[in-house]
C-alpha cells in the first residue's frame, strides 16, 4: 500500500451543498452543486451522485454550463482558476489561471470567449465584476490575464448580479441601490431606494436580483420581504416599479422561469412562492420545505426547479410544484451537543441534525441516510424563542438501543428535562420510542453511557447529572401479563459527598463503572453497585474519562480541566503516569488499545495517539487544525488497512474523524484524493450520453447484451456456478445505479440465465410470438416498476437462491427452471 505517503488532514465530505446556486444540465438529467473543493454531479431522477469533479485546490465558488457546449461545465474557485469540465465523463478539459480569488462566475451565450467573474482587488469590502477573456489555445493550462472592469462596488454574492435580455445589460444590487450596466451603450444607470432610519424604509436593502429572460424587467428582493419589479430602466427618469409582497422576512433568492411567465421566490419562511405572470393575486405555494431557502435555480429545459436550503439540502421540484427528490448533505446549521457517534448497525456518523433531530450520515457516500425525529414537535422558526434542545445521545454496543436527552431552560429555575429510550425495530428498520422519562434528574445531565459488555443480557444505562447523583437504568419487564412489553426503570442511585457527577464510563467488560465527581473519580462494581475505590489528583475537575481497551483494560484515563492527563492502574489503584496536556477531545479506538487525544494550544490543535500502557505517544501530528476541535470519533474500517510503518499503524483498523468549531468534518488520510474516490460507473455513464431513443432501448442494447450473453452462456456451461457475488451480471446489476440500468425484461432473462447451471443452449422456437410482444410492451410502459421489482428479487435471491440452487433443487423447482429455460430471448438476435 501507499505507506510512504505522509498522513494528511483531509476534508471528508459533509461540505456545504448550499454555498452557491445549483445548476441543471441542459437536458435536466443532472444537477451540479458545489461541495467544498469539488463539484458534484447528481442525477435529478435518483438523487444519486454520479460524479465528483475534483481538481480545485480551494473552495469552489461558482459553476455555470458552457453556453456554447452544453456538455461542458465551467467552475471557478478561490484558488484563482476557472476550469472547464466534461461532466459526462468527469474529465477536466482546461484550466484557466486568472490569479485573483474568484468569488463568482457568470457565462453568457453572446459573449463567446469571455466569462464574468467577481473579484475583490484592494479593499476588503469592495468587489468588482470583471469580464475575463478566455484565450483559445490547445494547451490544457492557460493563463487568462485579460480582465475588463464592468461594474465596481458590487456585492460579493452571485445572487446580487444578474444578466438580462441575452446579455444586453447586467444588473447588480448592493445596500440600497440597483445599478444597471448596458453593454451596447456602455452606460450605467443607478436607482436608489430611500434608506432613512425611520421604520418604513429601514429594511429597504436589496438582497438579490434576477432578470426576466425575455423582457426588460428586473426583479429585486428586499430585506423587508418585498419584491420589486423594475421596468423602463433604460430611461433614467421614466423608470417604474411594482411591488409584490408576501414574504414577511428577507427574500433570499429569486428566479424567473425559463419563459419568464413566472417568478419564484423564497426565504426564511421555507415556502417556495411562484408568482404567475408576476402578479400579486396569482401565486402558488410549496410550503413546508424544512429550512430557509437560500438559493433557487431553474433548469434550462424548464421542467425542474431546485431550492438549496440552509440545512444543506437541495430539493428538486417539478414544474407543477411537487418536490421530487432531495439531495441531503451533512446538516450543519445547529450546535452540535451530542458529539460524534457511530451507529453500530449502519456504521453511520450520528450527530445533531435539523432542530430536534438526530441525523445518520454515511461517511462513505457523503450523504445523509435518514433523520430521526427525537423531539417530535413542530419546529417554530422564530427569533428569540427558546427551543427544546437535544443535548445527549448514546448507542449501546450492538445498536439495539438509543438513549437521548433533551432539555429546555427558559429561566434559571425552570428546567425541562426528558430522557427517551429508543429500541431498534427490525421490521421497520428504524428506532421506535420505548420509554420516555420526564425529569430523570433534578439538574442537567452531564454524561450518558450504556454498558457495552455483551455478557449482560440486561442492557444497562448510566446517567450522571449535576444534581450530584448518577442513576443506573435497566430494562425490565413492563407490567404486561404477556411479558412482551419492556421498559426502562431506575435501578440504582449513587452519589458521592454531594459533588456534581460530571462523567461516567463503563469498563470494557462491564464489570466496573467509573463516575467522576468534579475532581474525584469513583469506581463502582456494576454487579452490586458498591463503591470500590476513589482516585483524586486534585488537578481540577475531570473533563474526560475513559477505560483502556483490550490489553490495556486495567487502565483508567482521566483528563482534567487544568491540563493534566492521568492514567490510573486499576489493579494497584495507583497513578501509573500523568502528563501535562490540555485535552479537548479524548476518544478510545474500539478496535485497538489506542486512544486519540486532541489538545488545544494557542497555535492550534495537536493530535496525540497513545496506548495507556505507555506514556510515550505512538503518533503526534501537530497543528491538525487552526480552529478548536470540538468532537472526534474513531470509525472502524470495513476492510482493515495494512500500514507497515509504525506511525500509521493506528490507522489500520479505524479512522479518526473530527469536527472543528466551524463545523468542518475532517479526517486523516494517506491516499491521494484521486484514489479516495469511490468508483462510479463511468463506462455506463458514457453509454448514457448517447441518444437514448426507445428503439435504442429495445434493439441496440439488447444486441450487445445478447452477444455477451451467448458468450457467457458458453463459458458457464463448463464451470461450476460461482458464488453470487462473483457473477459479473449480478455484481453489475447490484452496483449500477438504478437509473442507468437497462429495462427489466432482458435483465431478467440474463439474470436468471446467469444463475442457472445450463447444460445446453437451446433456442425455443416454439414460443408464441404474441406473448413476447406483450412482455415487450409492458417493459416499455412501466419500466420503473419493473426495475424495482427486479431489485427486490435480487435481494431475496442473494440469500436464498444462491444457496439452494447450488446444492439441491426440489422437483417442482426443477420444473420451474425448465420453464424458464424455454423462455429464451435468443430469438431477438434474429432481429
Amino acid at each position: 500500500m501507499v505507506a510512504e505517503e505522509s498522513v494528511r488532514v483531509v476534508r471528508c465530505g459533509g461540505s456545504e451543498l448550499n454555498f452557491r446556486r445549483a445548476v441543471f444540465s441542459a437536458d435536466s438529467k443532472y444537477i451540479f452543486c458545489v461541495s467544498g473543493d469539488f463539484v458534484k454531479v447528481h442525477s435529478t431522477a435518483t438523487e444519486e451522485c454520479v460524479h465528483i469533479l475534483q481538481g480545485h485546490r480551494n473552495l469552489v465558488t461558482g459553476i455555470q454550463l458552457n453556453p456554447n457546449n452544453h456538455l461542458q461545465l465551467y467552475s471557478c474557485s478561490f484558488d484563482g482558476t476557472i476550469k472547464l469540465w466534461d461532466y459526462i465523463d468527469g474529465i477536466l478539459i482546461k484550466t484557466f489561471t486568472v490569479g485573483h480569488k474568484l468569488h463568482a462566475l457568470f457565462t453568457l451565450a453572446c459573449a463567446e470567449d469571455s466569462v464574468f467573474v467577481i473579484i475583490n482587488k484592494e479593499k476588503p469590502d469592495v468587489f468588482q465584476l470583471f469580464s475575463v477573456k478566455l484565450p483559445k489555445s490547445s494547451s490544457r493550462e492557460t493563463e487568462a490575464k485579460e480582465l475588463y472592469l464592468v461594474l465596481d462596488y458590487i456585492n460579493q454574492s452571485p445572487k446580487c448580479v444578474a444578466f438580462g435580455n441575452e446579455g444586453e445589460y447586467v444588473a447588480a444590487v448592493r445596500d440600497f441601490y440597483l445599478s444597471v450596466y448596458f453593454f451596447k451603450k456602455k452606460t450605467t444607470s443607478r436607482f436608489t431606494l430611500s434608506s432613512s432610519k425611520n421604520k418604513k424604509h429601514a429594511k429597504n436593502n436589496f438582497t438579490c436580483v434576477a432578470c426576466h429572460p425575455k423582457e426588460d424587467c428586473i426583479a429585486t428582493g428586499h430585506k423587508d420581504g418585498k419584491i420589486r419589479l423594475w421596468r423602463n430602466f433604460d430611461d433614467g427618469k421614466k423608470y417604474t416599479y411594482t411591488c409584490l409582497h408576501w414574504h414577511h422576512d428577507m427574500v433570499m433568492d429569486l428566479a424567473f422561469s425559463v419563459t419568464g411567465t413566472s417568478l419564484l421566490s423564497g426565504g426564511r419562511e421555507s415556502v417556495l412562492v411562484e408568482w404567475r405572470d408576476a402578479t400579486e393575486k396569482k401565486k402558488e405555494f410549496l410550503p413546508r420545505l424544512g429550512a430557509t431557502i437560500e438559493h433557487i435555480s431553474v433548469s434550462p429545459a424548464g421542467d425542474l426547479f431546485c431550492t438549496s436550503h440552509s440545512d444543506n439540502k437541495i430539493i428538486i421540484i417539478h414544474r407543477n410544484l411537487e418536490a421530487s427528490a432531495v439531495i441531503q448533505g451533512l446538516v450543519k446549521d445547529s450546535n452540535i451537543f451530542t458529539g460524534l457517534m457511530i451507529d453500530p448497525r449502519t456504521k453511520a456518523l450520528v450527530l445533531n441534525g435539523k432542530p430536534g433531530h438526530l441525523q445518520f450520515y454515511s461517511l462513505q457516500h457523503d450523504k445523509q441516510l435518514y433523520n430521526l425525529d427525537i423531539i417530535q414537535q413542530e419546529y417554530i422558526n422564530d427569533d428569540g424563542l427558546i427551543q427544546i434542545e437535544l443535548t445527549k445521545a448514546a448507542f449501546d454496543c450492538c445498536g439495539n438501543w438509543l438513549a437521548t436527552v433533551e432539555q429546555r431552560q427558559e429561566k434559571e429555575t425552570e428546567l425541562e428535562l426528558q430522557m427517551k429510550l429508543w429500541m431498534y425495530n427490525k421490521k421497520t428498520q428504524g428506532f421506535v420510542l420505548n420509554t420516555k422519562i420526564n425529569m430523570p434528574h433534578e439538574d442537567h445531565i452531564t454524561a450518558l453511557c450504556f454498558c457495552n459488555a455483551e455478557k449482560f443480557e440486561n442492557p444497562t444505562l448510566v446517567t450522571a447529572s449535576k444534581d450530584g447523583h448518577f442513576k443506573v437504568w435497566i430494562l425490565t419487564d413492563d407490567s404486561d401479563i404477556y411479558k412482551k412489553a419492556v421498559g426502562w426503570t431506575c435501578d440504582f442511585v449513587g452519589s458521592y459527598h454531594k459533588y456534581q457527577a460530571t462523567n461516567c464510563c463503563f469498563s470494557e467488560d462491564g464489570s466496573l463503572l467509573a463516575v467522576s465527581f468534579e475532581e474525584i473519580v469513583t469506581i463502582w462494581d456494576s454487579e452490586t453497585w458498591e463503591l470500590k475505590c476513589t482516585f483524586c489528583q486534585r488537578a481540577g475537575n475531570i473533563r474526560h474519562l475513559c477505560f483502556g481497551r483490550l490489553t490495556c483494560s486495567k487502565y483508567l484515563l482521566g483528563a482534567t480541566e487544568n491540563g493534566i492527563l492521568c492514567c490510573w492502574n486499576l489493579l494497584s489503584c495507583a497513578l501509573e503516569w500523568s502528563a501535562k496536556l490540555t485535552i479537548r477531545v479524548m476518544e478510545p479506538d474500539p478496535r485497538s488499545e489506542n486512544i486519540a487525544a486532541v489538545s488545544q494550544s494557542s497555535a492550534g490543535s495537536d493530535l496525540f495517539v497513545f496506548k495507556p500502557s505507555e506514556p510515550r505517544p505512538l503518533y503526534i501530528q501537530k497543528n491538525i487544525s487552526r480552529e478548536e476541535v470540538q468532537w472526534g470519533v474513531f470509525v472502524p474500517r470495513d476492510v482493515p488497512e495494512s500500514f507497515t510503518s509504525e506511525a500509521y499503524q493506528w490507522l489500520n483498523r479505524s479512522q479518526f474523524y473530527f469536527l472543528t468549531k466551524s463545523q468542518s468534518l475532517l479526517t486523516f488520510s494517506t491516499k491521494s484524493p484521486e484514489e479516495k474516490l469511490t468508483p462510479t460507473s463511468k463506462q455506463l455513464l458514457a453509454e448514457e450520453s448517447l441518444p437514448t431513443t426507445p428503439f435504442y432501448f429495445i434493439l441496440g442494447k439488447h444486441r450487445q447484451h445478447q452477444d455477451k450473453k451467448i458468450n457467457e452462456a458458453l463459458e458457464s456451461e463448463l464451470v461450476q456456478l460461482p458464488l453470487t457475488e462473483n457473477i459479473p451480471a449480478i455484481s453489475e446489476l447490484l452496483h449500477t445505479p438504478a437509473h442507468v440500468l437497462p429495462s427489466a425484461s432482458f435483465l431478467c432473462s440474463k439474470f436468471v440465465n446467469s444463475l442457472l447451471l445450463s447444460k445446453e443452449t437451446k433456442s425455443g422456437e416454439e414460443i408464441l410470438e404474441d406473448v413476447d410482444m406483450e412482455e415487450e410492451k409492458e417493459s416499455g410502459d412501466d419500466s420503473d416498476e419493473e426495475r424495482d421489482f427486479t431489485e427486490k428479487t435480487q435481494d431475496t435471491n442473494d440469500t436464498d437462491l444462491g444457496e439452494d440452487i447450488i446444492h439441491q433443487l426440489s422437483k417442482s423447482e426443477e420444473k420451474e427452471l425448465r420453464k424458464f429455460r424455454k423462455v429464451d430471448y435468443s430469438w431477438i438476435t434474429v432481429l
Partner: protein, 581 residues
C-alpha cells in the same frame, strides 16, 4: 400682541359627503367633483387646487356621471333621469333635460365635443347633440338587456364601448348597432358570483377596450375581434373606476379596497417596439371605496366614499420638485361654514340641510399662558334650524349682535329675528322677502348689525337696512357692464363705510356704503382670492390669494401699502404656509 382666550370648538360635527365622480378638464386644468349629496365643486388645479366654484346639491339629484364638453361646458346626469348643464359664470343650473330612460348611470362626451351619450337603467344608450345653448336628443342605440354602467368613446368618435352587467358592448356610432358583445367571466377566485358588473370601460385609439369589474379584474379586450387579450386580477373586491391619460401610455384604476393602481405601457425590451401594459405602483391613500379616478398629465386624482380628494403627482412627469410635486389630500371644506356673533358669543354652524346655533362656554378662571382653563358654563346648543324643501343650504350668517340669522338655498332666501329672554330664545321669520332676494351666494351683516349685504348669483350686490322686525332695501350695486360674474366673498369695514367684494377671477371691488357707489377696484391678480378682510382703524383691505400671497391695500389711498410692497419684494410667503382659506 394681546391676550386671547382660545375656545376649542369640538362640537361642530361636520360630515362631508363622499365623492361620486370626478372629471378632469385638460384645457383649463380644472377638476369637477360631484359628491353624494349632489354638490358639484370645481377645483382650479393651476391655482393651487383651490375650490373656485360650487353648485349646491339637491336631495333628489344623485349625480352618477359628470363630464366636460369642449373644455367649458359641464354636464352631469343622475338617478333622477335628468341631464343637467351648469352655468359656470352665474353658478347655477342652466337647464335640465329628462332623458326618458330611467335613472342615468353613465355619460360620455364625444372626442370632438359635439355629442353626448348617456347610458340608462332600461339598457338604452341615448345620443344627444350638443347645440351652443342646449342639448337635443338625436337617437337611441340598440337597446341592451340591463343597465349601462359605463361608456367610453373611441378617440376617433366612430365606436363606443358600453359596460353593462356581465358583458361589454361595442357600438358603431353611425348605425347605432352593437358590433360586438364581449362576455365577462363571472368567476371570482374560483367562486362564481351572481353578477359581474362592469364599473368602467376605456376605449383606446388602437382598438383596445379596458374594462374594470366587480370581480376585481382589469381586462384588456380587442374590440376588432371581441376577444379577451389580457387579464389582471388586482383586488379581492370591486374595481370601481378607471381613467386613461391623454397620451394613452398610462391609466389608473380605483378599487373598493381603497387602493389605487397605476398601469403603464412599457416597452417589452429596450430595442423592440412591442409594448405591454404593466401594473406598476399601488397607492393606498383611501380608507374606503375609490369611486372615481382621473388622470391629469402630471397627477393621478382619486376620490371616494371616505370624502378625501387625493392628488398624487407622477414623479417622472414632474419637472421641478416643488410644492406642486407633493401629495395633496383635500379634506377640509373651502367655503366658510361657520359664522359668529361676537357680542353674544354665539356660533352658527352650517350643515347641508340644517343650521345649528351654539353658545360658547365661558370661564371665570384665569391662568398662565398655555393653560387649559376649566369651564364654568358649558357650551350650549341653542337652536337647530331645519330647512324646508330638498335643496341644500348655500350660505348662512349670524349678525354680530346675534339677533339676526340669514341663510339661502338655491331658490329661497330666509331671514330670522332672534329674541333673547333670559335663557329662552324665540325665533321669528321675517316674511315678505322682496322678489329680487331669491338666492344668495354670500351673506354678510355689518358690524352694527344694521345692514345686510347679499351677493346674489346674478352678480348684483344688495344692501338692505334692517330695522326692528322689518327691513328696507337701500341699494343694489349692479355688476360691471358686460360681466355676469358672481361675487363669492364679501368683507365690510368695522366702521361700516366700506364694503369689499370679490368674484372668482376678476379683481376686488370696494364700495362706499355711505355714498352707495363704487369706490375703487383692486387690480386683478393671476390667482383667485381666497379671503378678504378690512382692518379696523386703517381701513386697509387684506387680500389672500390661493398661491399663498397676501396683499394689503389701503382703501382711502387707493394703493397697496408699503408693507405689502416690501413683502412682495422679499417673497417671504412663498413656501411657508399652506393655502390660505
Amino acid at each position: 400682541m394681546g391676550e386671547f382666550k382660545v375656545h376649542r370648538v369640538r362640537f361642530f360635527n361636520y360630515i362631508p359627503s363622499g365623492i361620486r365622480c370626478v372629471a378632469y378638464n385638460n384645457q383649463s386644468n380644472r377638476l369637477a367633483v360631484s359628491r353624494t349629496d349632489g354638490t358639484v365643486e370645481i377645483y382650479n388645479l393651476s391655482a393651487n387646487y383651490f375650490q373656485e366654484k360650487f353648485f349646491p346639491g339637491h336631495e333628489s339629484r344623485a349625480t352618477e356621471a359628470l363630464c366636460w364638453a369642449k373644455g367649458q361646458r359641464l354636464f352631469s346626469a343622475g338617478l333622477n333621469g335628468e341631464i343637467i348643464e351648469y352655468d359656470l359664470q352665474a353658478l347655477n343650473i342652466k337647464y335640465a333635460v329628462d332623458a326618458f330612460g330611467g335613472p342615468i348611470w353613465s355619460m360620455a362626451v364625444s372626442p370632438h365635443g359635439s355629442q353626448l351619450l348617456v347610458g340608462c337603467e332600461d339598457g338604452s344608450v341615448k345620443l344627444f347633440q350638443i347645440t351652443p345653448d342646449k342639448i337635443q336628443f338625436e337617437r337611441n342605440f340598440d337597446r341592451q338587456k340591463s343597465r349601462i354602467l359605463s361608456l367610453s368613446w373611441h378617440p376617433s368618435g366612430t365606436h363606443v364601448a358600453a359596460g353593462s352587467i356581465d358583458y361589454i358592448s361595442v357600438f358603431d356610432v353611425k348605425s347605432g348597432s352593437a358590433v360586438h358583445k364581449m362576455l365577462v367571466d363571472r368567476q371570482y377566485m374560483g367562486v362564481s358570483k351572481r353578477k359581474c358588473i362592469i364599473w368602467g370601460v376605456a376605449f383606446l385609439s388602437d382598438g383596445t377596450v379596458i374594462s374594470v369589474d366587480s370581480a376585481g379584474k382589469v381586462q384588456f379586450w380587442d374590440s376588432a375581434t371581441g376577444t379577451l387579450v389580457k387579464n389582471h386580477l388586482i383586488a379581492n373586491a370591486d374595481v370601481q373606476s378607471i381613467a386613461v391619460s391623454d397620451q394613452e401610455d398610462s391609466f389608473v384604476v380605483g378599487t373598493a379596497e381603497g387602493t389605487v393602481f397605476h398601469f403603464q405601457l412599457v416597452s417589452v425590451t429596450s430595442n423592440s417596439s412591442e409594448k405591454q401594459w404593466v401594473r406598476t405602483k399601488p397607492f393606498q391613500h383611501h380608507t374606503h371605496d375609490v369611486r372615481a379616478v382621473a388622470h391629469s398629465p402630471t397627477a393621478l386624482i382619486s376620490g371616494g366614499t371616505d370624502t378625501h380628494l387625493v392628488i398624487r403627482p407622477l414623479m417622472e412627469k414632474v419637472e421641478v420638485k416643488n410644492y406642486d410635486a407633493a401629495l395633496r389630500k383635500i379634506t377640509f371644506p373651502h367655503r366658510r361654514l361657520i359664522s359668529c356673533s361676537k357680542k353674544r358669543q354665539l356660533l352658527l354652524f352650517q350643515f347641508t340641510h340644517h343650521l345649528e346655533l351654539w353658545r360658547l362656554g365661558s370661564t371665570v378662571a384665569t391662568g398662565k399662558n398655555g393653560d387649559t382653563l376649566p369651564l364654568s358654563r358649558d357650551a350650549d346648543h341653542l337652536l337647530h334650524l331645519k330647512t324646508k324643501g330638498p335643496e341644500n343650504i348655500i350660505c348662512s350668517c349670524i349678525s354680530p349682535c346675534g339677533s339676526w340669522i340669514a341663510y339661502s338655498t338655491t331658490s329661497r332666501f330666509f331671514l330670522y329675528r332672534l329674541n333673547y329672554e333670559h335663557d329662552n330664545i324665540s325665533l321669528q321669520r321675517v316674511s315678505k322677502m322682496p322678489a329680487f332676494l331669491r338666492s344668495a351666494l354670500q351673506i354678510l351683516f355689518s358690524e352694527d348689525s344694521a345692514k345686510l349685504f347679499v351677493a346674489s348669483n346674478q352678480g348684483s350686490l344688495h344692501v338692505i337696512r334692517l330695522l326692528e322686525g322689518s327691513f328696507k332695501h337701500l341699494h343694489t350695486f349692479q355688476p360691471q357692464s358686460g360681466t355676469v360674474e358672481s361675487m363669492c366673498l364679501l368683507a365690510v369695514s368695522p366702521d361700516g363705510n366700506w364694503l369689499a367684494s370679490s368674484g372668482t377671477s376678476a379683481g376686488v371691488h370696494v364700495y362706499n356704503i355711505k355714498h352707495l357707489k363704487l369706490h375703487c377696484t383692486v387690480p386683478s391678480y393671476n390667482f383667485p382670492v381666497t379671503a378678504l378682510a378690512i382692518a379696523p382703524n386703517t381701513n386697509n383691505l387684506v387680500i389672500a390669494h390661493s398661491d399663498q400671497q397676501v396683499f394689503e391695500y389701503s382703501i382711502p389711498d387707493k394703493q397697496y401699502t408699503e408693507w405689502s410692497r416690501t413683502i412682495q419684494k422679499q417673497g417671504c410667503y412663498q413656501e411657508a404656509y399652506r393655502p390660505c382659506l
